[in-house]
Symmetry: D2
């Protein structure tokens, strides 16, 4: 059994809750879950969602059923059993500025310390094991020094702090005070890539995985580049456009957030090819009618044998949130499994497959097909 | 040093000869050669082409320079040093029927046995090590029984024999009578997939690799399917169109030859996915102005998490023959390396990466990215 | 008011019946109907479907509701009012040979003459005005001579006769004996392109429009070619692949039927460009999971100013039958309008927009955007 | 005979000069010139380029041969006859700020008035007829009032003035003082859309055509939208990405210039469809290795009959500058023809086909196929 808290009750968390429930009800095949056909000590049916957290006034206090009904009802029948899972008030720290959402957070009325202690008490009562961070992309300054971060939080100095960092700190404190837990960061905020966080988690036998879930165009591009690299084809350029109509794409129209995403997305090029092929890889825009099914356009030009030029064009329409939700089913289980097996800090073998910018900081991206093979081998060796 | 004979002096053989020469002259980067950046005991510069064979009256007796000049001159400067490599008369056995070529073969004037002995004598004088079969795609019946094949050849019963089979037999006989050699089959004719041929080659310490060079859309589709399989996405259909304007595409407009290609191309689907997703994968047509740069169009639909549908569209323009020529640079070296290391019969580790339908017969296709990783590990272990 | 008989109660006829009904019920916007926003003397709501005809044993005697329920239920709510429209037994003449359908036709038990008279009596009682031919694509020999056709039918010589021809003949006879009617041929069988049929229809003041509804990739290619021709860009090649999973695509896997379609599809190239640019334009294959939403892939290469090469790649997923059904809403109205206005034979201004191979025989294809503009002007002049 | 001055000696002007010369030499077919096959009173061979103007220190004083050699030599043989055409110093007004070019302009040493008078004297000695403005995209404030513009120029108040505006003013003054001339504005700066400029040109019997040459993705999208509108398909969204590696794309990475382009590109949607379908249409980025051959990716979703959804994906690689250069061959001739025929101000029939934002201000975009047809009819009526 693994008890999961969802941080950010948007499309991804709702798909996760609904899909998980439908699988439990036998209504749905476990497609989109990478390890669905591989035996893990923790079964998909062993996942129990104990709470969601959000900062949208329209969501706080509602059930996951209510929220999913609003977000997904045109496509999917929402299972009634989700009526029992409640969405709590979280922390925003201004992360929704510029978005058409009226935010409310615990820190509006409390100091950061008090807000964090409130969360920890709630989580203690839920007996939570794994926390999955799927809040909206935020701009975040890296913290090279954990004690500086602790100071800032304890002194209620909010400037330069992001919701993801404060949630990650709260889970660290929960791990220290209540029991070791796992924090899964599916957001580009550097956490599993921040040595300060990794060593803090290590010190309390907790797990931190991340950063930024590798769904969509980036892992596909990674595997395409590996395919070309295998043949020593010389990549002359890579264009990768992404446009969607969900809240995340809207938030990425803000230049500082876009930059966060561009960093995690672009790191694959040199890691895989061994040279920094000229590339334009970034979230490109927001267009509401595309909804959660983003449009991806990739164009790659390369030199083949005898100096001739080949070209590839890829277009795709990809459901953004379900792809991430499928990963969450594995990551919830892997988070708990790592705790059970006594791991601590971050675990590259897991990050390498599931994350755009796999931690720890010095780690490289490899082709996803290789990362998956390595993951299976590593799981077998446990 | 490895002495190479090219069987079929078309676009692929010409690109191989020209590109190899340009690399030796320092004019060309070794792009498109999978193992260019990995140390092999035999260097690219150690490859020496000793002869080409063809059955086009306009090519026999000419130099590789003359032929390359005609085929590739609009794109590439042809090195003068190719004037010293001659193209000899080969065997056709009707394989060019229906194509706009006036064929002439040794067997027009001689019995098959005599023709084969003529070849063997020529090869003996050249001291040939590796034979690369790049004749035009033919329709070929499988031979379950090697002695029946030998009987047919010795009795000059030509019906049901293809040029590829007779060349492979000739190299077997050369291996027996002169010295063990390697036969690289880049044609869909089942040879490395024919147990009769594999055990005959084993019996004379010779090497046979094949079948059908995995360039272009098929290995790309293989890696895409693996990418989807890694995420347990359920593939609902695969469309893969191919159209080109070179002689090979022209020959594939003949239904029986098309069928040969369809078999080697389709085998990847079930091998990689574990289920036979509905697919339309075959060479689709011939259109002269496309030339050697084929147009590939792929469309894949799959189910993601929560039962939703994603779709991918890929278009590409790919230089067909250079892709194969780049592989030939490795395969010439690997053929000789395997002989030197005492291997015999066929070698799956090599075939798995370079071939559409890797022999031996019972072998499976795996994703190419995995096959490449396995190949590197296997090379290290030699 | 216009009373419509549908010949061939497949996907297109079912979409037409369902969509028309939903528009009447106010449930559906009239999207996909070219003249929806232009006033015609006959309103969309004036169309009344009086019968369908089919030769599938599973359809004969059923209601349009039953059939639509089976064909379209996964996508669309079927209006109950379709329960009142019956599907009658038609004529097949072997047109379904090779398809997974067990056919039954009036001509199985009757001579052709008797079968035709049976149809005419049914139509008389329905007071039918317009007949829309959407039977499955058949292979058909052209009849240069109408009296030979009449002789064949009257003598019950069925060889070389297709269902479309016999239906067209029956409507001719109905026009002569009962009242002038309109026959809309959305099938590649040459009828509006057959001078024998056109003059026979003229002689009885009837209307015959056709041939082959121009939905999907062909009119799109026509407009693209016009776009390039407008700029004097020199088209070097055109590739146009089509693959679908409906019955029509299945029937097009039969080479003789495919040829029928290839002819109507290819005629646009020289008509629009003024030269016969090398092209591969034909229905390419059948893949069941694509369903009625065909996949189209187009690739065009051309020379621009200063001798440089540009290239365009188009992929599309297009609902095949609804596109045709939208045209049927106009054509039913235009057929009646032409009768009311005293036209006879065929009318190029209508065919030029709606048909792949617009009749009469000597007529040329023009860009569809031009044909639409001409159609509007012509309608204004009526 | 028409004497042409090129304002901005970049890729487009160089392609124009080289292509025109090659056509005169009989080396090149007139592909890419819309009216090449239609008789105009002024033949292509009647065009004489008398001068180029630029503000790049590396170009001023050089010949068109030198510049073309540098820009186009990898693709095209540059005719030696271009050595006789000189590039003069122009006006920049800061339009190159942020680009990797060291600019020099007449106004660096002179007042604006003096600079303009210098130009007029040069043009008088060249006896120039037509001026084609192909300077790099600039950000420009509209001038509602011509006398305010005149005041600003005469008072040497440079703030808010762009090079395009000053050139257009200089040609106005040249028309007044020397002889009526034509100004062709292929830049997004609103000039033919600025009533102040149009009436000023009218007052001196001069011609001003514009704005922003309609090559590439925008006219293609226009014709696609017309194609859909003809069928009353309801467009739900339009995505149109553009990325290139030439100087113009580099300048468009500056937000204010991008905005200029977005305006001219987006105006087609509502003009053609009749409703403002949600769209993302703008130059998207710069990637050097793409060079002048831009990558365009378009995705359109629409509703067809019966409420179902179709989708189209278009990818293209298009030589940017040659497309414009081909138009310039027509526009040079049309500019002179209009002067000869006594037209003045701007001419919608010409602008409607060649321009992204056809002037005058209140004019609408129509589908390009319609605009071309109208242009031919209008030319016939002259």
């Amino acid at each position: 059994m693994v008890k999961v808290v969802l941080l950010g009750q948007g499309m991804a968390a709702s798909h996760f809750a609904v899909g998980l429930e439908r699988i439990k009800l036998g209504e749905l095949e476990p497609y989109g879950i990478p390890l669905a056909n591989h035996e893990l000590p923790i079964d998909i049916r062993d996942i129990e969602i104990v709470a969601g957290y959000d900062v949208d006034r329209d969501k706080i206090g509602k059930s996951m059923y209510d929220i999913a009904k609003k977000l997904l009802d045109d496509q999917i029948d929402i299972p009634a059993s989700l009526k029992d899972i409640k969405v709590y008030e979280g922390i925003h720290l201004g992360s929704l500025k510029g978005l058409p959402i009226d935010p409310r957070g615990l820190e509006d009325e409390l100091t950061l310390s008090q807000a964090i202690d409130t969360l920890i008490e709630e989580w203690r009562s839920m007996d939570a094991d794994v926390f999955i961070n799927v809040v909206t992309t935020e701009y975040t300054k890296e913290y090279d020094n954990f004690s500086k971060l602790v100071d800032a939080i304890e002194s209620n100095l909010r400037d330069g702090l992001s919701a993801s960092q404060v949630y990650a700190y709260a889970v660290y404190k929960y791990s220290k005070e209540v029991k070791p837990a796992a924090f899964i960061n599916l957001n580009p905020t550097p956490l599993a890539n921040d040595p300060a966080f990794v060593s803090a988690y290590e010190s309390v036998n907790a797990i931190i995985l991340g950063d930024d879930g590798a769904t969509g165009a980036t892992p596909l591009t990674a595997d395409l580049l590996e395919h070309l690299a295998n043949r020593n084809r010389y990549v002359e350029f890579i264009v990768q456009f992404n446009i969607g109509g969900n809240l995340d794409f809207l938030s990425l129209t803000q230049p500082s957030k876009n930059l966060m995403k561009e960093k995690t997305k672009s790191s694959i090029v040199e890691d895989i090819l061994g040279y920094d092929a000229p590339h334009y890889i970034k979230p490109t825009g927001y267009l509401e009618p595309l909804g959660d099914k983003k449009f991806v356009s990739i164009h790659i030009g390369y030199k083949t044998f005898n100096g001739l030029n080949d070209s590839i064009y890829i277009n795709a329409r990809i459901n953004d949130s379900p792809a991430l939700a499928g990963y969450m089913v594995d990551l919830a289980r892997l988070g708990k499994l790592l705790l059970d097996k006594g791991f601590k800090g971050t675990v590259y073998e897991v990050n390498a497959f599931y994350m755009k910018k796999p931690g720890p900081k010095e780690a490289k991206s490899v082709a996803r097909i290789i990362a998956y093979r390595n993951l299976l081998n590593w799981l077998k060796s446990l």
